[in-house]
Symmetry: C2
Amino acid sequence: MPEPKLVPDDIAERTLMLGLCNELLGQNGLVWCRRLMVMQPTMIDPDSQPEEVRNFLTFFATKYHYDAAQAEGAAARVVSILNALSAQLAAQKTKGSKYLIGDQLTALDIYWSTAAAILDPLPHNMCPMPDNFREFYSTVGPDIEAALDTKLLAHRDFIYENYLTLPLLM
Amino acid sequence: MPEPKLVPDDIAERTLMLGLCNELLGQNGLVWCRRLMVMQPTMIDPDSQPEEVRNFLTFFATKYHYDAAQAEGAAARVVSILNALSAQLAAQKTKGSKYLIGDQLTALDIYWSTAAAILDPLPHNMCPMPDNFREFYSTVGPDIEAALDTKLLAHRDFIYENYLTLPLLM
């Protein structure tokens, strides 16, 4: 078993943790839905992007199983996942914990912190990426912007400062 | 999306469902732990089995990453997962639901019903398998036997009767 252990021993904590990891990284999860959102304008109107970007996004649309109906619901799905994470973080704070699950670091803290790059990338010196990626990732629309709890972003910062290494290379 | 939909739309239900599916089928989950238990006697004392069975189990021990320490804790892990499923089924009954999650069939009902074969195989006419497999699968030891809630087995029967096809071919 790797140390430190990133999967809780307690079955209720582990069940919730894996379930929320799936919401972040699984099929139709937060990262999946954000990718659909990035592709959507190009898939609706291919001429809205320069040829190079269009070719790139069309390639990824195939790779990532772009689906127009799913793309339509993607922002709402991301909002519901952010709300669930915010509620979990708030519940944990009430219990006196600094972590998303239990009282120590788990995979969920790391997954959230890294997945947040597709919503609110860290500044260039901490997380370098091409300008168009930064624009794609930062353009989340009003609903997600409203749901993007500053406490969730502060939690990301806390995890990077204490457990991860910057710069984050995508 | 396949119909009927086997993944709930509600995020709390979906999170719990995926977390419990992981407990059944994921790494160090119920099926994983039962496999370790089946191999354990042979791994501890290779001469306890006839050569053919020994070769077969040794092959699977490699394939399934047999680990002596995990095998030692396997029965307790299975018990904790069965207890969590029993508690979930009881909570659902209190809410008036016949299913493990929400108020309709989900993947978890199907996963539980099929995974139960490694604890309490259905009779030969419903689930044919070689006799030594039947013995391996049925030999769960006293702790798991005590934790194997008859209501969970009745739930398996309900799911087979209404949604699945018998005989179950392993």
